[in-house]
């Protein structure tokens, strides 16, 4: 920061503020907040929805309340025991807390006594409010076997850690208008997805080519005007004014109104009618119109039913399925509200038609909401409660109710049913509604990958469609989504990660805000229409409201305000004063035609904190920073005092945000707190990312998640199915500030290596690396690999059970005595035993799955079969730990962890933090390596060709910075935008007698000659990636074949062959190497001899009893000849036969022919 003027707030001041934010919120706040809200608000609400369960004719069950217990495990003996997450992981249990309901049954005899029943076991999110871990100190966490750095935010289901991935969705209850596709019959569309309390329904309004508007809902297409009439807007004038006050738009509504007139009853008022009569007639007509409209709809739902029922059905349909977010109660007010909402949709649509507004941008983040763990869980629980719980209670009471006995619900309601369904969804990731992959196994490669996984966001768009716009970086992603971190390939741009500073709203109820808006002068819509009508009748040309701003609350028009700017400013002022929730955002959008105020209070908006600027001066003052630093103030205090506020994408459209204090002008409204926080977790560890070509940062963001490090401090107490840890992980010499808060310095995943850029022997072409054997000997990049083998001793119905023991030689599938020799008496290997592929780790015998024919006939003495757990083919290691316990059902559970030392070898993959990856191409003895005059020998030599085309200048700077850091003895700050200047680093190098270019003269270790060109050498942080040769190396000469086709198996785990594919085959064909081709495709694969009858061409067989070849047609009279074919071909013939096709092979003896 030497080059920038020291204007307050300096980067250091701003960093203090930003750091406070992370310290307070942690990095998985969004999930924790969402889950906490689910527990404290949503769950009570859901249970409230089922408050009264009617059992027709008998009784009703009333829910009085509920409580959530502590996380427990239920032993089969029946008692409950408190459980720690670690125990759950080890014993394949679920970390869940019981939810108890207090119920009472109300019959005509009055209310029975309250009963408490167990509703379900609710999975507990780690470190959430109901998790005891959240209240523990560091030492207590350690005592409980937890890594104190573990972020929490995930669940433990059947022993495996599961994340509920945040789902990005189009904002519900918001109207989006767009042009219709060319091929459809419509020209323009307005869509809204209305979601409320688990109900979801879509309403589309389309404008046909003839200018008539239609609404479609639940596959039903209704003319818009009729729909509005059915909702209670009975007169043309009401409908017109509800849609718009603007005559031009009203004109565009005419075709729809004219069309609808055909179904409406004629309305004539006798000239001489008295006012009373007139009123009565009007009222009568109103009712008639509504009924006619309802009937129009009813005809389409309840086909062939009487008129009265049709109308009723139509009403119910509209109440329940139309715009459920406005309400589902059957009151005229709610219907009217719906009508107004639809009118606004029509208005917006017509504005688009008139070119007054542009189609809505679906990729703008104002139109997107995130569904986090709490929302997803709520969806799940609500779904199963609605579908099973209610029915269960009803059935239970219907079946067991008696006049004389109290019904004991505890006996009748099985909690397992609900629990199992919820757990099943969470274990498989299949959510009700057909979404898959919602819950995923938490990535534990290293801390980065874990955190990044917890902050992942997926978009529901199909990955096999292009969706170009959705995948592209949208400007509103700034500060919300990481611009770098996204996978390559099919999912690019659809799977994203939250930026560091992003913060997801949990939502405040509309009811808290709506009255306040009216108090601020918003005129409710109903009044507006009434007054507008009056004004027109009084002879105004336009009602004055035309110039007023429309005010929307969460996408719903609630009224008009004379001055949108003023309203927005007042709301902001109230928010800054802390008088309304800081979660409320307001945006004022004005163009020539559009004049709208949007107030948002809903959940799932991605918001980011910004410093408030007034008159070109940030409201943050030095004493605030001091207070933050001393801990007197928290980050929330800044929000409460109106110094910092969170903006959503909507409100950000109104903001003018400065990057740095030097850029501030009086027009600015906000300033970034910490610009580098626009990056996500993994992109934040890249030093100098602003000097790299963008895709390189994307590559690195993906690779950081594969690098080995210390994934959890309790790794020895965990039993992960696979795991790696690096032996001597180092803090990077070249740091970014974000590492501090991510915890990268405590759980690093890489080592600082001396890297020279030169070709040296050329064994580093095409991104290969040359490594120094001396460095490897000294422990560079060593790692340990764990693999878990586990089995359960099951008990089967019918008294059969598994046994963990050393199998005796008479079991089926016995592997020979050698395979079992490492087993202890109890049938399990001892720790610290070296094992290799094929060695049995846990000896187990199971009852046979199929009986052989012999066993059927003999009956007695069924042989058991070997079900031992064997070390994987091609792997080796040392037994690290053995654990014997019981699982949730009380079965014996054995887990064996095997570890394997991984010393870098030819082919292991490494990568710098700049997307420069490569595999070891050569390991050079120390004495042969090039050296500098100081005797520095590089650990790694990379090829200069790695740079020009990739343009990863960041790595070159890191190399120099690393060298300077080593010379100075302290780390160098390489935070993007606020880094230590490169000039300073060069001065440092020069001060220590090194050329500032980073180049040094080097000598070839083999000859001792000086290398004529100076070599660029410095220190770069390299990561060892988990792709290692030891896991992949594979060859086969002979081996197992598939049973069906008799062709060699595929894949390393099955000791498979290497595929000789069609392109390879084409080569041999092209060369005319026919014998080689035959050998490859036939002899080395599935060659078989079949016997074909010369007379009929059918396949025959050899009858061993009679010693004769038999033809299926000619029996033993056939002339059967051996023919060499592929077994797959024989299979084809037989398959054809099964299709009633008779294939015949015409064979002839070649020798006889000649």
């Amino acid at each position: 920061m030497a080059t920038r003027a020291k204007v307050f707030p300096t980067p250091d001041d701003r960093w203090i503020v930003m750091k406070k934010f992370f310290e307070e919120k942690g990095l998985v706040r969004q999930h924790l907040d969402s889950y906490n809200r689910f527990i404290s608000k949503t769950l009570p609400e859901i249970i409230d929805e089922f408050k009264v369960i009617e059992v027709p004719g008998i009784a009703k069950v009333v829910i009085k309340g509920f409580r959530i217990g502590k996380p427990v495990v239920r032993a089969i003996e029946g008692f409950e025991k408190e459980v720690t997450p670690l125990e759950c992981r080890l014993r394949n249990l679920t970390y869940a807390a019981p939810v108890y309901l207090r119920l009472s049954i109300v019959t005509d005899r009055g209310e029975e006594q309250e009963q408490e029943i167990l509703l379900m076991d609710l999975p507990v999110m780690l470190k959430s409010d109901i998790d005891p871990l959240s209240k523990m100190s560091r030492d207590e966490l350690v005592k409980n076997g937890e890594d104190p750095k573990d972020p929490g935010g995930y669940f433990i289901i059947n022993g495996s850690e599961k994340v509920l991935i945040a789902q990005e969705d189009l904002a519900s209850n918001n109207v989006l208008v767009d042009y219709a596709s060319e091929s459809s019959s419509a020209t323009h569309l307005a869509k809204v997805i209305s979601v409320s309390r688990g109900r979801r329904s879509q309403l589309i309004i389309e404008r046909r080519k003839d200018g008539i508007l239609y609404a479609s809902i639940q596959g039903l297409r209704i003319p818009l005007v009729i729909l509005m009439a059915a909702l209670g807007l009975s007169s043309e004038i009401d409908i017109t004014y509800a849609v718009s006050l603007d005559p031009e738009i009203q004109t565009y509504l005419m075709p729809s109104i004219i069309q609808a007139q055909t179904i409406f009853p004629k309305f004539e008022i006798p000239e001489d009618a008295t006012p009373e009569e007139r009123k009565r007639l009007e009222e009568q007509h109103r009712r008639k119109t509504i009924e006619a409209a309802l009937d129009y709809i009813g005809v389409r739902i309840a086909i062939g039913r009487p008129r009265q029922e049709r109308i009723e059905r139509a009403r119910r349909f509209l109440d329940e399925y139309l715009l459920p977010h406005i309400g589902t109660d059957p009151s005229p007010e709610t219907r009217l509200k719906k009508a107004y909402f639809i009118a606004q949709m029509a208005n917006k649509l017509l504005e688009l038609v008139l070119g007054r507004r542009k189609p809505d941008d679906k990729d703008h983040y104002r139109n997107k909401r995130l569904k986090l763990a709490g929302d997803l869980l709520a969806q799940l629980v609500r779904h199963y409660l609605a579908n099973y719980f209610r029915r269960e209670i009803r059935n239970a009471i219907e079946r067991n109710y008696s006049k004389y006995k109290r019904v004991d619900l505890r006996q009748l309601i099985k909690p397992g049913m609900l629990t199992d369904r919820v757990l099943h969804a969470m274990a498989t990731g299949n959510w009700p509604g057909g979404k898959t992959g919602v819950s995923q196994l938490l990535d534990r490669t290293n801390l980065m990958s874990t955190l990044s996984h917890l902050r992942r966001v997926v978009s529901p768009l199909a990955r096999n469609q292009p969706h170009f716009e959705a995948r592209e970086l949208h400007p509103t992603q700034w500060g919300r989504m990481c611009p770098f971190e996204t996978p390559e390939g099919a999912n690019i741009g659809l799977v994203k990660n939250l930026a560091l500073m992003a913060y997801v709203s949990v939502g405040v109820p509309e009811e808290e805000v709506e009255p306040m808006l009216y108090k601020l002068g918003v005129k409710p819509i109903k009044e507006v229409i009434k007054e507008a009508k009056k004004q027109l009748q009084e002879g105004y040309e336009y009602p004055e409201f035309l110039t007023w701003s429309k005010v929307y609350l969460n996408g719903r028009l609630i009224g008009y305000h004379p001055d949108g700017t003023k309203l927005a400013n007042e709301i902001r002022k109230l928010r800054r004063q802390g008088k309304i929730s800081s979660e409320v955002n307001v945006a004022y959008i004005k163009s020539d035609y559009i004049n709208e105020v949007f107030v948002n209070t809903d959940a799932g908006r991605i918001r980011r904190p910004l410093l408030i600027v007034e008159n070109g001066k940030p409201k943050l003052k030095p004493n605030h920073v001091k207070k933050i630093m001393t801990g007197e103030w928290s980050f929330e205090d800044l929000v409460r005092n109106g110094i910092v506020e969170y903006l959503d994408a909507d409100e950000e459209e109104n903001a003018y945000i400065a990057l740095n204090p030097e850029d501030l002008t009086p027009e600015h409204t906000h300033m970034e707190i910490w610009t580098p926080a626009i990056l996500g977790i993994t992109a934040s560890i890249i030093p100098y990312p602003e000097h790299n070509q963008s895709p390189r940062n994307t590559y690195e963001a993906a690779m950081a998640k594969q690098s080995l490090g210390l994934y959890a401090a309790n790794f020895q107490r965990r039993m992960d199915t696979r795991g790696h840890f690096l032996h001597y992980p180092q803090k990077p010499l070249v740091q970014t500030r974000a590492m501090e808060i991510i915890g990268y310095n405590e759980r690093p995943a890489g080592q600082n290596m001396v890297v020279a850029v030169m070709s040296f022997t050329g064994y580093n072409i095409e991104d290969a690396l040359i490594m120094n054997k001396g460095s490897i000997d000294r422990g560079l990049a060593r790692s340990t690999f764990f693999r878990l083998y586990s089995t359960i001793e099951y008990k089967y119905p019918g008294g059969q059970e598994d046994r963990i023991t050393i199998p005796s030689s008479n079991v089926r599938g016995y592997r020979g005595p050698k395979a079992y020799e490492k087993l202890d008496e109890d049938g399990i290997v001892t720790p610290e035993t070296p094992v290799k592929g094929g060695d049995v780790l846990i000896g187990k015998i199971s009852p046979p799955r199929f009986f052989t024919a012999q066993e059927y006939t003999v009956g007695a003495g069924i042989t058991r079969q070997d079900a031992s757990i064997v070390t994987r083919h091609g792997e080796k290691g040392v037994v690290d730990a053995v654990m014997i316990t019981t699982d949730g059902e009380g079965n014996k559970l054995v887990k064996v962890r095997v570890r394997d030392l991984r010393i870098p070898e030819l082919g292991d993959k490494f990568a710098s933090r700049h997307g420069q990856k490569g595999v070891i191409g050569l390991i050079v003895p120390h004495e042969n390596m090039p050296f500098t005059e100081d005797g520095i020998v590089p650990d790694l030599i990379i090829n200069p060709h790695a740079f020009p085309s990739r343009m990863t200048v960041g790595q070159l700077i890191e190399s120099i910075a690393g060298k300077a850091a080593a010379l100075e003895g302290h780390s160098i700050d390489a935070t993007p935008f606020y880094k230590e200047s490169i000039e300073n680093l060069q001065i440092t190098l020069k001060r220590y007698g090194y050329p500032e270019t980073g180049m040094e003269a080097m000598y070839d270790g083999r000859t001792g000659e000086i290398l004529h060109s100076p070599i660029f050498i410095g220190i770069v942080y390299y990561q060892k990636l988990h792709h290692m040769v030891a896991d992949k190396i594979h060859a086969r000469a002979r081996g197992p074949v598939q049973i069906l086709t008799r062709q060699p198996t595929e894949g390393r785990a099955k000791e498979g062959g290497l595929r000789f594919g069609e392109m390879e085959r084409d080569c041999l064909v092209g060369h005319g190497a026919s014998l080689l081709l035959k050998e490859q495709m036939l002899d080395k694969s599935d060659r078989t001899i079949i016997y074909v009858c010369e007379l009929c061409g059918h396949i025959g067989w050899y009858d061993r009893v009679r010693g004769k070849y038999i033809c299926p047609i000619h029996k033993d009279k056939g002339k059967l000849k051996p023919v060499e074919v592929s077994y797959a071909f024989k299979l084809l013939l037989q398959e054809l036969m099964s299709l009633c096709i008779m294939p015949r092979l015409r064979i002839k003896d070649i020798a006889r022919e000649e």
Binding site: G779, D934, G935, E1000, A1001, P1014
Partner: protein
């Protein structure tokens, strides 16, 4: 013929020599021999009886191997690496090959501090072979953890594993021969080369760029001055058969000993070549 040798720098484990008239291939052979062929003692096999620390056996064994052991006396006392290597592979820890170092440590479960075991805690069977430094941490014991092992050290060569390499630094450098073309040079209007030189080799003297003769050994031949000169007036070259050799040992052997041993190893290699030639009857 004698070489000209000057000692530029000397300390217990570091020496810098100036050598003149030595051919490069000879010097480099010596350098390479120092790294790869001079034998030292290092722990090769570790037998664990107890290890409940968080470090794995192979992890601790690797750490033990890298602890430098004093080897001055050991070179005479013990059999050469080639013979001992076989013995170790067969698991025969004979006294003429191996030195036993053992360590026992326990942190009682009741304690609430952490114990670190250092190289100085190793008990050796031969006082001549002991860790050079006492403060190299081996393992950390938390309460309730225990460790006990016997480690066997033998002579070995850096070629086999870097732990047997007696030197951490063995490097030579060339000595610069800087020529300045005064015709082309624009000094004193231009001082680019002087400004960029990180070692302050160049000075301005009488409005001319000069090489400060007492600092010439410091020139790193980085050619930055050459790059900086817009007029191609300065040229970096090097003197023939004049070198500086820098040796820094791990402490197992003194620099002097390393150098002499290296020469001895080279000599014996040449001797055995002569022997072989004789045996083949090629020479008399």
């Amino acid at each position: 013929m004698y070489l000209e040798i000057r000692i530029l720098e000397k300390s217990s484990n570091r020496v810098k020599l100036y050598l003149k008239d030595i051919p490069l291939h000879v010097l480099n052979s010596i350098r390479r021999t120092m790294i790869a062929d001079v034998p030292t003692m290092a722990i090769d096999t570790v037998v664990f009886t107890v290890n409940s620390t968080i470090f794995y056996d192979e992890y601790i064994a690797h750490r033990l191997g890298l602890i430098p052991l004093t080897s001055e006396a050991a070179l005479e006392k013990y059999k050469p690496p080639e013979e001992c290597r076989e013995a170790s592979e067969r698991g025969l820890f004979t006294e003429d090959c191996f030195v036993k170092l053992d360590l026992e440590g326990e942190n009682p479960p009741s304690s609430n501090s952490i114990i670190t075991l250092y190289s100085g805690d190793l008990r050796t069977s031969d006082p001549d072979v002991k860790p050079v430094y006492d403060k190299i941490p081996i393992a950390i014991l938390s309460p309730g953890q225990m460790i006990s092992f016997e480690a066997y050290a033998r002579l070995g060569r850096g070629r086999e594993h870097a732990k047997w390499s007696p030197v951490s630094v063995a490097a030579h450098k060339f000595i610069a021969d800087i020529s300045i073309d005064n015709e082309k040079c624009r000094a004193p209007d231009c001082t680019d080369c002087i400004n960029v030189c990180p070692r302050n080799i160049l000075i301005i003297d009488n409005d001319r760029v000069k090489v400060s003769s007492d600092r010439i050994f410091d020139c790193s031949l980085c050619k930055v001055c050459e790059e900086a000169c817009k007029y191609r007036a300065i040229k970096i070259n090097w003197r023939k058969d004049e070198y500086i050799l820098l040796v820094e040992t791990t402490g197992a052997l003194s620099p002097k000993r390393v150098l002499l041993e290296a020469i001895k190893v080279l000599e014996s290699k040449l001797d055995s070549l002569v022997e072989s030639l004789k045996m083949e009857g090629i020479t008399k």
